[in-house]
Symmetry: D3
Subunit: 245 residues, 6 copies
Amino acid sequence: MSRIDGRTPEQLRPVTIQRGWSKHAEGSVLISFGDTRVFCTASVTEGVPRWRKGSGEGWVTAEYSMLPRSTNTRGDRESVRGKIGGRTHEISRLIGRSLRAVIDYKALGENTIVLDCDVLQADGGTRTAAITGAYVALADAVAWAQGKKLVKAGKQPLTGTVAAVSVGIVDGTPLLDLCYEEDVRAETDMNVVCTGDGRFVEVQGTAEAEPFDRKELNALLDLATGGCADLAALQTEALARTLEG
Amino acid sequence: MSRIDGRTPEQLRPVTIQRGWSKHAEGSVLISFGDTRVFCTASVTEGVPRWRKGSGEGWVTAEYSMLPRSTNTRGDRESVRGKIGGRTHEISRLIGRSLRAVIDYKALGENTIVLDCDVLQADGGTRTAAITGAYVALADAVAWAQGKKLVKAGKQPLTGTVAAVSVGIVDGTPLLDLCYEEDVRAETDMNVVCTGDGRFVEVQGTAEAEPFDRKELNALLDLATGGCADLAALQTEALARTLEG
Amino acid sequence: MSRIDGRTPEQLRPVTIQRGWSKHAEGSVLISFGDTRVFCTASVTEGVPRWRKGSGEGWVTAEYSMLPRSTNTRGDRESVRGKIGGRTHEISRLIGRSLRAVIDYKALGENTIVLDCDVLQADGGTRTAAITGAYVALADAVAWAQGKKLVKAGKQPLTGTVAAVSVGIVDGTPLLDLCYEEDVRAETDMNVVCTGDGRFVEVQGTAEAEPFDRKELNALLDLATGGCADLAALQTEALARTLEG
Amino acid sequence: MSRIDGRTPEQLRPVTIQRGWSKHAEGSVLISFGDTRVFCTASVTEGVPRWRKGSGEGWVTAEYSMLPRSTNTRGDRESVRGKIGGRTHEISRLIGRSLRAVIDYKALGENTIVLDCDVLQADGGTRTAAITGAYVALADAVAWAQGKKLVKAGKQPLTGTVAAVSVGIVDGTPLLDLCYEEDVRAETDMNVVCTGDGRFVEVQGTAEAEPFDRKELNALLDLATGGCADLAALQTEALARTLEG
Amino acid sequence: MSRIDGRTPEQLRPVTIQRGWSKHAEGSVLISFGDTRVFCTASVTEGVPRWRKGSGEGWVTAEYSMLPRSTNTRGDRESVRGKIGGRTHEISRLIGRSLRAVIDYKALGENTIVLDCDVLQADGGTRTAAITGAYVALADAVAWAQGKKLVKAGKQPLTGTVAAVSVGIVDGTPLLDLCYEEDVRAETDMNVVCTGDGRFVEVQGTAEAEPFDRKELNALLDLATGGCADLAALQTEALARTLEG
Amino acid sequence: MSRIDGRTPEQLRPVTIQRGWSKHAEGSVLISFGDTRVFCTASVTEGVPRWRKGSGEGWVTAEYSMLPRSTNTRGDRESVRGKIGGRTHEISRLIGRSLRAVIDYKALGENTIVLDCDVLQADGGTRTAAITGAYVALADAVAWAQGKKLVKAGKQPLTGTVAAVSVGIVDGTPLLDLCYEEDVRAETDMNVVCTGDGRFVEVQGTAEAEPFDRKELNALLDLATGGCADLAALQTEALARTLEG
């Protein structure tokens, strides 16, 4: 059985990672997972929030947002509505936790890195593309901070790499990296965040229709682990390229 | 190795479920998981939100909140701050999804049930206690709606039961139903929502310190499945008691 | 003429005052006036708001809120609406003023006590139950602060006791401690806050239908003074009990 | 003992009532109680809020606000802060209730009158000046609605007149109509709203320092009743003047 | 062709400027341009916003607002809606920029002046009346600050005078100082802010219907320059009068 | 005298206009003026806002926003702050008015087009780039609506083209299309919006330092008119290209 876009069940969509997409940000990436396109910037500032001052430790946080017409029908701007919706809150928190999982706060020192992930075009998997792209922007920002001596010589704030992918069961078949059309039809939907060495940072599975059993859960975890490994290789490859500008 | 409160790793805290704790709500439960105490009400209204009108289908939603001094140090009220925090949003959404997993919208008909879960005292596991208690309140509210003929004769809006429990790895040991002190020290923290027949509705695992591997994940899922089965039994027992008033 | 619930005009509803209902708060009370049930906590923190720093004086403030389904039909959460309603503001301010009336700021020293009064179930008189319960929680919190030496030895921050009751004219008859059904039918509605020695802290009378004359006002004040004296006795009795835990 | 401004204890400040101060509003008054100056407008619209539609009854509501520099030191605008403070809410509600006390909703028919009371300059007693002025604006608006046949011929929506005054105990002496300097020093502060026939609509007394006893309360009520009678005469006189424009 | 109110195209409406209209503010003006009536206060405080501290320079800012019934039909209060609308924001910013154009921050020293412009009655040209009146209030406030030695001896914070007027093309004819009825019918609408020496501080022209050409623009600028010169003379005259009180 | 980036005073920065940058929006453009990069989408929906229903006329509106790290230092998200700032409001309104200047509402029929202009990277002139890009997105959206028969056959909702450019006086020299560094140093700053036939839609000039005289104003208008003509040619060229996808 082939998928809507001709992929095999365990195949990612075409992934592109463009670094240096902003002249202002310390790290910036335009990432695409098929038609999903997310602009990730990493902003470094000296100092930490008040509750962390004097701890000698840094902080990493994230904000996710969708442009109003990144989706098929236009959504209201959260700034105009005057409040952030639950979904946005939830994803921002997920991205922040995922990236913090590979940060050594002590090594980072009292610096703050804010990751902004703005979805320019959505076609499923925006949160997983955001995490995967944000890691690359984070890595560039950390390198920048090391170059500027904000991070002490010999310190490595990054303890590993992190990537994320969605998996789901559609018409009974476990699939990797769902596009929007598949996502809508999925009975079970799971987002998995892994480190480059194949361990889990986050596992979030939700039964959209029928509850799922342990066997299905295992099949999804297998798929996700493979997908994250592929993404980790693409991240490494992107970071190996020379950053012009 | 024994736990802070003397429990074995796979043991729940003492659970109490008091039904009929409100004279106004169609279903109401005061549930406690050890020192965690959550007041759950289920409010039935005829009609559904605008986007669902004319569909013939019902709706179930949930709101979670913590009283300002339910915690060890007082937190600001979200009403005073003028906005709901990300954690509150996230948990409200989780509770709503979990309960909707056992609802047959068609059988419910165009009725809405709102589950309010207010934490009176917090000691870890507030969201899992909320889901577990909210199910019992929901069951009473559904029975009320059947009695009032809001639900058509012969229709059963509930497709099963649902309960939730937290699990985590503390000092390398997987533990069931963490109290606050254990939760703070957990390397990995997972909330699992199961139906009464042992299938999964939600699996949300987060590495708080080190990423976790597949073996640890499996151990946690085993513990959680057992805990949810125990809770399902307690729910059934509570619902078997006659509701005075 | 007997009342809906069989009381005489000058009779309170059954009052229960349970101290120590929270393991976290420095003072906590579950109070009920008939079916009205309010959970009051008193939270002590060292220090005072900025505008009072260096004055050597303490501060006491209060926040009142109703759980969404404390009433017969569910009300929206003020946190979800993003703002606090006028009634909530008004009652929070009333409770704060009433409790401050029996506080010696100098003796309290630069400590702050926040009283949270959350209505779990409403059946009329929620603000008066809140004030009456909050006093008991405050007394326990003050004792706690004395025990912890936050308050200087020999200092007594409490200058007296305070309690409150509603009175109203229903079908021409002045009644004490109105339940919701009486309150709705009252032509005149008054809330009176008295100190234990029978003096007035607040008198708030409102003509709901016809304006009232001086004679009616006097009759209501007589009833209220008696009711507050009864409540003061119950407060004293509750505080005389040993607080377990 | 003479007062700061030379008045006797039972003397009002000079009161001026200018009608027709706005060319747009159906009723408008610039009222002053000494240096307190409040601009009151009454706006009539056909129709009532949704919850009242089809009842055949009208509605009257009020909004109070202080200009940022109406006070001695500039206060933040509530529109800029993004929320209305408790005091503003409380006073708006008081004005609304006071004016509704002299309205026959049936006679008004399904029309709404909004009273806006904006304090241009504050020197104590802003809420009582607002109520007293708003009544005159309301009377003009009702007359306008009668002239425009919005109110049915032969119907009189006004059932009486209403005025308000503050009283308080300063240095042990009960005083009428406190200016700001007296208000700050008052041990007890009371706002009293009376109908023209001398009955009470609202009595709101607050012990600012010491609780007050029944005798003091009686002295204050006596003063207030007299003051309201004087104000009622001034209202009648103002309404008897021909309104130019 | 004569105008609605009989003016010639290059004629201002009757302008009145009353100084000292508030006993609290350091500068205060009630200005009218025909039936448009704006109350302007200038509030002086020592110190500057945080971002300007230690610079030795002062700050001037402005807030504009319309009373709800300043217009023909009542508008909602922005404080009640919980947010400031775009038009209010835009005009507040314009007034602030216009007044800052004649301020020497160094000479002002670390003092802040806030200009509040509240529209009591609107009939077109509220923003230009506000700027013109605010300048006079500002001049009085600066003089007050000099008298109080908040401004160093010999320093003159005002570098000139500033006034504003609207112009527009109605039925093909360029007109000065549009009243509301003319404003509604204008094809092009322009607000011009000039210094007393005839130079421009702001030029804001908008095509309401047809785009306008260079010749029309020139005609409007000619009219506006003349109108501002007339207003500058009226400001000078008003400031030459002795300020009682 | 040559400029920072080597341009002559009357020279635009390199301009690129990429159409079809979004697969969802009915019209979409990524426009750059030098390093300023704005993503413009035009979203068509059938129907109009409530206040316009039944008029037979359409509506066009715009929203402008800057991504948090589009600037040199990161700015807070307006959605997180819970309100839209004055500058954002002002620019959104300007864009909306500018585009409406070339719309024939009757020909558009009861359809709404929302223009979203999100600044991905800022280097001066974001509002003028937004207007210029939004016009092209609007033209594509109108063509789409014509293709879908939302617009009646034979009707042309566009009455012309519109473009915008900034001009300013830097060190005494009038310059076209200021980059950020020039903008900061400008004594006078003007944004001019012209139709393709060289007439004015908006002229907004502000003295940032010294007031400007008529001669300077004329020089700026000359420059702006030329710049807009160049931009109109680029718009026409972009729209002449075949839109793939």
